[in-house]
Symmetry: D2
Subunit: 340 residues, 4 copies
């Protein structure tokens, strides 16, 4: 960390900054410039709180040099994490995983029908929400426990692995018992109680990037999970909130590259929520794979117009088959292997 002093900072103020750095257990090295002095903090393991130094007299600003995350970092753990679930592997250049299913579990019949369709299409994992976080209290909130039972039936009847969302500590307990992968949604990315609780489970966690989270914040949220002992975290880019109104959220594919540059964790992409419209899902899926994503999570419904949620962005089963075919083409080409 670098503490930049004001142009007119006194020697006394500079000395005071160095003293405070020493008191905090680090070393402060003054670097005199032509106009002002900067004091470099060295000797720290992990993050230094910038706030106390910013508050000292004569300080103009504080620049962070060391990143605040540790366990998620390439520098701590250079080997890429691969999540293994039966024959499925996620991460590190493995064949991209495709997770598919409806936004919500609506009924046993609907759920099983879609599950069979996406399995036929080539999916290995099935997604479906039993606990739904909805903007309006008057919207359909999911079937809850009954939804989890249906998902268990999907697993036993089709062999598909299950991904479903937990939205609080109570339902996380239930979800943990029923699912193969626990999903934490974008709106809960900084729900630290939930992150900690997810870190205490033994199931892999898909952690979605918050609507306005930086990559650093996404990694710090993952750090919460790993710090509790669960290292099986899969990050997920699902679009960020910007001024641009042609899609519901702006899909930030560079997030894949930044996560891979900084961290050993796998990252998948959810084109459905980003786009908010069905006809963008296939091309954005291709783009995600071409950028190097470790997988996709997409919404599929056997009858989108009748879906209780997210119908407009759900693929028809035949579109999902097309998507899988195109991803496999890209894969055969080894395009995704070109990434270092």
């Amino acid at each position: 960390m670098l503490v930049i002093m004001k142009n007119d900072a006194t020697q006394e103020q500079i000395d005071n900054v160095i003293r405070e750095i020493t008191d905090a257990g680090y070393r402060g090295i003054p670097i005199p410039g032509d106009h002002r002095t900067a004091v470099c903090i060295v000797g720290n393991q992990g993050m230094v709180e910038e706030s106390p130094f910013l508050a000292l007299e004569g300080v103009k600003e504080v620049l962070r040099v060391t990143k605040p995350y540790k366990l998620v970092s390439h520098e701590t753990c250079p080997k890429p994490t691969v999540i293994r679930l039966g024959e499925v592997e996620i991460g590190n250049g493995c064949k991209p995983v495709i997770i598919a299913g409806p936004c919500s579990v609506e009924s046993e019949e609907q759920t099983l029908r879609i599950a069979r369709q996406v399995k036929e299409g080539g999916a290995k994992l099935f997604r479906g929400g039993a606990f739904k976080p909805r903007t309006s209290p008057y919207s359909f909130q999911g079937l809850g426990k009954a939804g989890l039972k249906i998902l268990e039936k999907v697993r036993s009847e089709t062999g598909l692995l299950i991904v479903t969302e937990a939205t609080d500590s109570e339902n996380l307990k239930l979800v943990e018992a029923s699912t193969d992968i626990i999903q934490i949604g974008a709106r809960n990315m900084q729900n630290y109680s939930l992150l900690r609780r997810a870190g205490q489970t033994k199931k892999p966690v898909i952690l979605k990037r918050g609507l306005s989270a930086t990559i650093e914040e996404l990694l710090m949220a993952a750090e919460y999970i790993i710090a509790e002992g669960n290292t099986q975290v899969i990050l997920c880019e699902r679009g960020i909130r910007t001024f641009s109104d042609n899609t519901r959220f702006t899909l930030d594919l560079s997030a894949i590259l930044s996560v891979k540059a900084l961290s050993h964790l796998p990252i998948i992409v959810d084109p459905s929520h980003a786009a908010g419209r069905r006809d963008y899902v296939i091309p954005l899926s291709r783009a995600a794979i071409a950028t190097g994503a470790d997988g996709l999570i997409v919404e599929v419904h056997s009858d989108p117009p009748s879906a209780l949620s997210d119908g407009a962005q759900s693929l028809y089963p035949e579109q999902f088959c097309q998507l899988v075919k195109e991803v496999e083409y890209l894969n055969m080409l080894g395009v995704e292997k070109c990434l270092k």
Copy 2:
């Protein structure tokens, strides 16, 4: 709601849209234009889900006309809500309330000292965090239950009312028992389990706007609380995330005006978190009051450089006195009364 058909939509597709509208329990009125047809949905009470219609063949887009919120709305409840706590009143042009205190409860001594200082300065409510949501798992996370005990002592020794944050359903139970107003932080604005649980308490709730929440989403979050039976909700603007990097968040004072135009709920402003730096807090506080805010929540610390969190944005006690004086000047002038 208005369903806009594509230019080349067939009559059959239009008829199908009208049929689906009828099936959903509304009426669909076709409006033929020169180039395309729009179908207007009438007969709805409250929000209509747009997703099913967007998913129909021949539909170009769906425009919402009716707002999705109800209980928070001026149209449902034209009388402004006033929150009463002893002699303090919040809302509807009452004298702006000032809530002050440290970011975190650090120790009994520190907390009591600051509490006496802000009381002397003119605060009626004391803020201080016992459960702290922090970006890093390695940052100070608050004293928890011990912090709540200290806050109770502040109340009994100074007579100040207490505002403190709950971050999950478990600590909400504890917070509810100790505090006068429950705070829900920006990162939890769409933590629907927490909102529902807060709606089941009898204590007023300060609900902070999420980092990237629209006014509509803020109102919908309040709707969750009110729908559970707790009508005592105070909204709080605390800055939104934008590209602009001169402050930590961009304080959006127009939020005050939009909330007052749409809702009967009071709204206060937190200039400390928005600015992230102490020297901006007083002018932004003046601006908030001049815009018509029902109050302020500001961070004050007796020794900001030693604060365990948010020191750089905490006012010194003498600056807080200055702030109160300036707000009272503005108030005497009756500037805030000019708002309709």
Copy 3:
């Protein structure tokens, strides 16, 4: 356009709105709802100014139904535009064009060297700035006319076609005479004088999306050019400004899909300016092509560390060869043909 009346609007106010609509030359059809009335405007050709209606008494809001652009629209001109320059074709599923070269023309030697390298790599068009818009007045501003001379030499010696930027009406005259395609930069996307002037030339124009321009604004800017008579416009996505700080700008690949859904114009992608770092350029280029872009414009330099501008994001010549190879792979696969 739909004029939404307030809940308590009087019949007189509604009648007045209808009268104003009639006076403006359209027809106003009232649609009574359960709570409020909306008035639909029909009979308009092209855009209706919403401002006059928004200003009338009793009006709550105005919703636009018809898009404000015309000549750029699919609905006006359903056939995709293809730009033809010698043997190069841009648009409508033709083989993606690759435009490459340094940010700035620095010297004849440097420029010719890079030109030969990118030609060898497979580029058909050469980019290089003679007039550089720079954030700082103290940064290198380009060689001006001398730079254009060098670019002409590049054309005559290598046969590459030339793309270079015009930043005002004066240098546009010079650029027009020297170049094959005129580039208008992101910061000038709403420089209407320049757009009109570009519309009066006979050369194709690459129009870059502004840092914070919506797709509608981008199309309206193109409309300015076409309205003057020049129909040869190529749009370019180059990243938008968001809160996300892991890249210089957030590349919005959904822009490709939205432009293709609304307009007949080709759209290319500039991954170099979006990313701001070299190692992201190849994967983002793949993503752009996989999404359906009609081409790429990338920065290449024979010696990036010595570049006078944008060195950090310029590819080495051998990386450019790799990029071309990968784009051709994607192309062979016909992935981009999957787009409808």
Copy 4:
């Protein structure tokens, strides 16, 4: 500037960075940390281009310490700039200036009527556009030269000083001859040809902040004008583009504080364009003055519903009188003097 090396950078790479720094005319001081080395660049006057260093092998990132602007900076010129026009003074805690008038000059009669009304209300300067930058080529584009003639008549008949916009170098010549203050609009904030040309005039310039410009970019744009010799620059905050859709743009009042912290230039606020709706203009004006703005520029129309542009956000003359009265109240109180 600080060049941060990668964890695994070799000594050779560090030496090479230091050599490149020396070659560029500065001094490079290596600061070895526990995990990595940083190299501090000292000895520079003004900005150092970061790009060449970022491009070197072994470099992880480059942190800028020195700001890139010079002439606009407090550090270069500690005395606040005051613009003087007859008896009007703008800047440095002088009585806030109020500039008022219609968006567009529509006719002599309309313009003179509004001019008399705003004069009576208390305005000293009159605004009105003769050259209008409009998003659509089909919208009213202003009266051009004829508009300037009308503005000259306003000056001679009412004694009001004139502010009007120039949009390119050609009309800047005309505007310069007719106006007292030249306005450069938000969409032209980085039109460097126009900035340079404005820097060559003798008239004060109001420079509006771009829709997505940082404070640093705004100051750099002003630097372009001052670098040409014209030191009379007034900055203007007019709202920035964010995701928030309750106003047209999000008014960022902290910009006032940041400009005053970094620069000696005055800054005024345009609440009309930010809000996009009339009923927000007075409270946001109060907020701007309470924050410490040096003035306001507001849209006023004698008959807003008939305005050819921006009618919805134009004040009625009686509202303008109210605004002036409220600003004077705030001023009498000396609230704005509380700013340091």
